[in-house]
Each structure stands twice: as C-alpha cells, then as structure tokens.
Point group: D2
Chain length 270, copies 4
Amino acid sequence: MAELKGFMYPRTPTGAAGILPGPPWHYSGEMLTIEFRTDPTAVAELLPAPLEPAPDDPGAVALIWADWQSCSDSLEELLDPARAQYKEVFLVVRCQYRGQTYSRAAYIWVDKDFAMARGVVQGYPKKLSEIWMTRPVSVGRAGPRLEPGGRFGATVSTWGRRIADAVFTIIGTAEQPGFVNAHPMLHSRQMPAIEMDGRDSLDELVTMRGFDAELGPVYAGDAELQIHDNPTEELDRLKPFEIIGGYYRQVGNSMAAGTTVWAAPNPMAQ
Amino acid sequence: MAELKGFMYPRTPTGAAGILPGPPWHYSGEMLTIEFRTDPTAVAELLPAPLEPAPDDPGAVALIWADWQSCSDSLEELLDPARAQYKEVFLVVRCQYRGQTYSRAAYIWVDKDFAMARGVVQGYPKKLSEIWMTRPVSVGRAGPRLEPGGRFGATVSTWGRRIADAVFTIIGTAEQPGFVNAHPMLHSRQMPAIEMDGRDSLDELVTMRGFDAELGPVYAGDAELQIHDNPTEELDRLKPFEIIGGYYRQVGNSMAAGTTVWAAPNPMAQ
Amino acid sequence: MAELKGFMYPRTPTGAAGILPGPPWHYSGEMLTIEFRTDPTAVAELLPAPLEPAPDDPGAVALIWADWQSCSDSLEELLDPARAQYKEVFLVVRCQYRGQTYSRAAYIWVDKDFAMARGVVQGYPKKLSEIWMTRPVSVGRAGPRLEPGGRFGATVSTWGRRIADAVFTIIGTAEQPGFVNAHPMLHSRQMPAIEMDGRDSLDELVTMRGFDAELGPVYAGDAELQIHDNPTEELDRLKPFEIIGGYYRQVGNSMAAGTTVWAAPNPMAQ
Amino acid sequence: MAELKGFMYPRTPTGAAGILPGPPWHYSGEMLTIEFRTDPTAVAELLPAPLEPAPDDPGAVALIWADWQSCSDSLEELLDPARAQYKEVFLVVRCQYRGQTYSRAAYIWVDKDFAMARGVVQGYPKKLSEIWMTRPVSVGRAGPRLEPGGRFGATVSTWGRRIADAVFTIIGTAEQPGFVNAHPMLHSRQMPAIEMDGRDSLDELVTMRGFDAELGPVYAGDAELQIHDNPTEELDRLKPFEIIGGYYRQVGNSMAAGTTVWAAPNPMAQ
C-alpha cells in the first residue's frame, strides 16, 4: 500500500512516469485562425442540451491551427523538446449556457499523447492526427515573412486521409484574431460507467481560460479552406458558406485550474 | 440543442467521429509474456491504498507485449486496418482487495489513439510509445517458427529512449502463459477536478475480464529481459531478480461491460 | 585515411552504422496482389525507351501490398524487430527488352529507411508512405481466417492523403498469384550528375530475382480497388477498367546479387 | 515507350510523383552547432583514402541540428508544409583533398523521405531518425528568447534509442558559428554494382556549397553534449574531449548544381 504521486495517470511512486505533469502549464506558439460562416443548424447540432446556440451570428465558427511548445513550471520539457512541442487543430463554436456566452472546442486533433491527456482533463475531445502548418521565417526564401503577401499552408489528416486544408495570406494587421474563440471555454467531461449501460460515471461542464497572456501582433488576411469528406470525421457537416477572415498571431499564455460549472453525481457511488 | 451520439468523446451528430467505437470490442492477436520476480517492495509501492499485495509470491510480475487487431461489432475497422492494428506493452502486478486477488496493469503503453482512449475507459493508464515484437512465420528464414528454438525480440521505447527489451526462445509448450495475469483486472479510474486542488471528480475501482476467449497453444521457454533507466518512466524500479519464464500465445477474446467495485461521489456535484 | 566498411552508405570504421546490411537478405511475409486491366497507354507511358510494352494483355498490371520481416544473414535484425518489419505497396507492370519479358515496379512505397535504401540499390523507386494491410488470424473475431469469406483491407497514403484502398475476399485457392509479377524484375538505376545539367552519372538497367522461395498456398478471390486522385502521385493515371483477381499468399525468399543488363558510362569520369 | 520526366526517381509521365523536385532548392531554418574536440584518430578513421585529415586542429568536429523548411522554385511545398518541413542532425569533419580543405558530413540523420533522397544526390549519407530541437519564442514562457540565458535542448534517436542529446545556453553573440562547417562540402557518391561483388557502379567525389545566403545573427554560448552508446550507430566513437562552443543561427540559402571532383568509370559499362 502506497502513497502514489502524480496529477493524472499513472499515479506512481515518484510521479515521474505520469503522462502529464501537474499544472500550471505554460504555452508559447503560433495560432492560425480561419473564421467562417456555416449553416447554423450544423453548429446547433454540436451543442448538447442544455447548451444553446449563441444568439448573434450563430453560423460563425473558427478552425484554428496551433504549433506549440508547452511545459510545466519546471521548464524541464523544453530541454527534451519531444515532450514540449506539439501541434493542434480545433473547431471552435460558440454557445450559451445560463445566459453567458462561451467558446467550445467541438472537435480537436493533436499529435502528442501528453496533449491528448491534458485534453481529457480539460474537456477538449482530442484525437491524434497529422498536423502541419507553415512557419514564418526571417531569412531565406523557404517561408513567408510576417508582412503583407506572406502565405501559409495548414493541413490536418487522420488515418491517412485529409480532414481539412487551408491557405492564409497576410493583408495587414488587426486588433483581434476574430471573435469566435474570444470567450471562456465551456467543455464537457464525460466518462461512461464501466457497466457501459448508457450511464456516465463522470458528467460535468467545466470552464477555464488562460492567464498571463503575452501576445504578438495580429496579422489578418485572406483565407481559403477546404473541408474534405472523411468517413471517420464529421467536420464536413460544417460546409464553409463564407470565409470571415484569417488571422495569425504568436501567443504565450498559461493554464491551470478552471471551474466546474455543473456536475452530475456519480451514479455508481453509494 | 442536440441529441449527441457516441460512446466516448467527442459525442457528435452521427457518432462517426468518436475516438472509440462503442462496445463490445473484439481482439485477435499475439501475446508474449515475460514473468519475473522483483523486489516485493517495488510491487507494493505501485498499489494505492486500500489495495494490498498478493500474499503468495509477492515479487512476481509480468511484462507483456501484445500485437493486436481489434474491432467493434461492425467489423468495419478490419477493412481500414490502420484503425484495427495496434501494439501494447503492459506491466501486470497482482493485488488483493476485499479478500480477492486481482491482476492490475500498473504501466501500459500503446501505439494508437483509439487504444489509448479505450484505456481511459477501462482504467488502463495508457501512454503512447513505439512497440515492436517479432512475428512468427510459416515460410522463409526471416522469422521464428512456432517450435522449439524459435526466437522472438520485443522492444518498447518512448521519446526516443528504450524502456525495455526482451528476447524469448521457445523450448516447448505449457498449460498456461504464467500466473500473474490470470485474475480479473482491478483498475483505478480517476480524474482530477478541473479546480486542480487535489480532489478527483472521478475516483473508482473497476473490474473487468474478457469473454469468448479462443486460445492457441502456449509456447513456453527462456526469456531475457533488460529494463533501461529512463527519465520519464519508473519501470526500472522493478529490477528483474529472476526470470520465471516466457510464454507466447495467439489469443482471441472480446471485452465489454465491467463492474464498478467501488466509487467515490463526485465532490463537485451538489 | 581509412579502410571504410559497409555495403551502402555511410561507409564507416566498423560497418555497424550502415543504413542497410550487406546481402543476402531474407524475407518472410504476406503478399496481397490485386491484378487489374487499365488503359494500355497508361502502362506504355511508364516505360522508358527502349523498353516496350508486353505484347500480350498490355493493360494488365498488379498493385501489390506486402507485410514483411527481412533480415541479413546474421538474423540479428529479427531480435530488434523495428529493424526487420516493414510494409510496402508496389505497382507492377510488364515490359519487353531485347525480346524478353520482365516485371517492373513502376511505383513503390515503403515505411522504413532500410527498405528505401535497398530500393536505391535494386532500382525500386521507393518513397515513404503509411501502409496498412489486414492480417489473417487463427483465433478470435478480429481478423479474417485463411478460408473462403475471409476479407482483407489494404491502404496506402502519403502526406496524409490516401493513394489507394483495396478490399480482398477469399473465394478459394489458385495455382499462381496472378501473372503480372511472374517475370524477373527489370529496373532502372539512375543518378543525376551533381552538375544537375540533365546528365546521369549512373544509368543502368538491372535485373534480379529471388531465390530459395518457400511459398504458402495461394488464396484467390474477389477484389475491389479504389485509386484516389493525389497531387503528389500519378497512380491515378491507371484507372482500373476491370479487376482480374486478388491473391493472398505467405511468401519466404532471399535476394542478393542481380545482373547489370545495360550500363552507360559515367560521363563525369575521365 | 515514353519520355519520362523528373529529376530523381521515379521518373514518370508528368514528373509530379518524383520523390524530390528538381533544383534549385531553397532553405530557411535554424541551425544549432556544437563544436567539440575528439580523438583525431576517431576523425581520421572516417576519411576514405585519398582524403586526409585537416592539418590544423585535426580533432575538431561539429554536431549540428537543423530545423528546416525547404522548397523548390515553385514554392508550392510551402503550402503543403508536410512536404517542406524537416529536421536533420549531422556530424561534420574536415578533410584535405588535393591540397584543399573541405567540410564533410560523415553521419547525417533526417526525418523525411524527400530530404533522404536529396542526400543520395548530394552525397549526404542520410538515415531516418527522430530529431527534436527547442524553438526560440518571442512571447510566453515556453521557450528560450534569443538573448543571454536562453536555453535550447536538442536530441536525436533511431530505432527508439537516443544517439545524442545536447543543451545550449546563449551567452552572447559571435562573428561565425564555428569553423568546422565553414568549407565547401566534399562528399562521396557510391552505389554498389547490382552484382554485389565489391565493385561500385558509381564512385564519385563531389563538392557543393550553398548560395544566396541570408543569415541571422550568431548567438554563441555554452554547450553540453552526450553521445550515447548505440548498437546501430558509430557516433560514440567520437568521444567529446572538450567542447569548443555552441552556436545558434537562423539561416536562409539555396542549393543547386555542384561539381564532380573525381569520378571512377562505371565498371559495368562496356
């Protein structure tokens, strides 16, 4: 019988083998946001009751690529960068709950297990994927400069099939990188009971937002977006009717505790 | 507001995008079991209270490699085999709880996200890894035959560092592939509260076992095992004092519902 | 100044670091052959002069998936199976040269670097790819049995885009796994001069065939094949007009020296 | 019979399926150079006759990590960044040939097939590997700034085993990123005859250097380097006796034609 250590699983004698170091987590990276309008019913069908669509511009969503380094307070992951670098793509929709507007990652893909495990904690429904995003350069010809005319490509694939491709071209700068991902996150954390009878042992709505943000300028421009039919994805239900805009920004922030907004009792507990 | 479908996350309009199809799950594959004795205190320190060490042979553990195909009742994953094939390595220890002996996967590594997600449901603390295991052959020289003298290699690495290597050589056959992994599984399912204040929103002990087993003959023999120092793992705390034996077997079975043995109330639920 | 060792590159003090062990190479694995007829002009355009199309059935080609273990005479790779296991997909066409009929791998994809390097030596134009192929099983439900009704899936993707998918269903057995891949291989080995002025420093036609074949029974059946548009591939120029048949077989063989059929002088040598 | 297109293999009807676009190639990226002194005999044993060690400081070598985007003149790869981004690590030694000093990549690892194929053309003996290198950041805590105190980690692994790890800490700036990699490259291009009788069909010494260099400032500092024993590598024969220095620089350049310095006739050509 032992006192086990560690934030998530496995909890172990020293804590070194845990899949995810404990919070806070620090992030530095680059975000490419493509905002577009789709059929509002395709957004509404992503919102479990009692969440409701945002009343204004209900078809507006954002598909966001990010290329991150993240680390714990020890910063040690930065010196073993396989454990710090990851990429992600996520679809953000807006919703209302108890009169407040939230952003919500309805779909999200990452390329490392520690990021996937952090998603389980934060309620981001992360699957693994292959993700690529052009990096800006300051020398040479093999990349865009952060200036008008700079062009970026971004792709996401799973099981060897493309999910979406985007091209972004800088036109100028902007105040904000869009409006869809501008609210606190509202996520579901759900775990089927091991009895697998339709009940959930864990069923919560949680909210969180980053802190200590340090932000680069917002580069804004034109975007093209292709969402491909894919038998293991449903992103293609959100046909882009109209591109709102594209935004690139270097972002630093930190994340730690959030707040449980609502939680069901564990029906398996007596 | 929508009725979302799917067993695990994300729950979606059609269910097609879920990371894991719903149960039951069927498995066919090959298991290579290396049983060895280590310091019983290194086993005991892996057992959270109130679990207790098995009274007999408390230093006996098993490191098991498996090369699987798995699928849902639809069998559709078998025709897109990226979604069916995966490999795993797990350390099994035995423990006692309420007077009963269980097997328990203290550490486990897999190489696909759907397997990792299934681990979250089943309480297997799965991390991603690179796993390799020699396959037996029936023709040619590039592999062992399932007969005395057949030799298999097995390796597991994470972040580009080996965790363990094994070599197994068939001597003959046996009735059982060891005794460590012979009990129902007892696993913890725990989820930190989003408040990240030390409380768990989900804290359960669950048990499960396979059904509809269809088993090949057990090939038994000699085994060598090296566990490497590795800064992100703690497997090296289990020094092999003595190899008990090695076992190779082709295994088919199915898994579905288990039983919640104990569950704490969700402290976040009012 | 040193005597360097090794078959291919790098040639090094001990030879241990070479990308590819020296010959002979032994192979054991499973081959899934899909033979189909396409437009003969799509075959002819793959044959560099002076190669000519095979006179009989000139539109018949084969797309072959293989799941291999391979090793050198030391067999050591089999105990570190990351270095032994690889998968490949190749398009075989037939051609005539100096009155003899040959098989020729016009396109080929593999998933390991040692296999790619061996392709450079043998004239197989190997690119890296993600390749999957269902494995038959002898126990359990998660895989086909080697008997009528057994169904296999096979896929190949590159840069996160599918190139081709196939489904094969066993109907019975056959004498031969088709006729397209039944001849000695005729491959080009070409290397642009470092001057990059259109000349080749190396320009050869080479032939080789396996030896010490040990073959399992041929399972024959129905096949479906989809070749997808893909901007980095040209396989989609070979539209399947008619499926000839599908064949699955376990294959063991060895390969070593071949024969130079024709070689140009190195224009850079004085 | 067809006129096939493409720079390297496969040569195809349109050229789109070639593993490597034709030259010139443009590069933008980040290079981390660790210069150290080792036993001069460990350097000399890497030089095939008639190459001779550099007369000055003959034990000085450089292990260099690079994180690149590269593209052809079309720039199209930059919009499908899986085809543009790659990482590499290479060991540079110096040598003399015909009275001139050259740099030479004795070992090199990359993580993409197009980079490996370009190595075959350029005489870089590239193997595949897992490579990671910390990226500097301009916002947030999850990465070093390009200023004194900024710390970078760099790792390379193959077959799930580390080859080398480095840590670099910026102290200030410098004029040059060391002296080992400052000469034109001298590489061997060799291809065994398909007869595999010890003869080479291709045997050349080629030289090349980049052009259109656009260079960021050189950040110089302290470095730590660990080279691990590894059964499939020989880098551990170069024990670091003394670290000369570490250097980080953003680099843009282009490469195209080089010069054949020496070429043997192809013995297979009549």
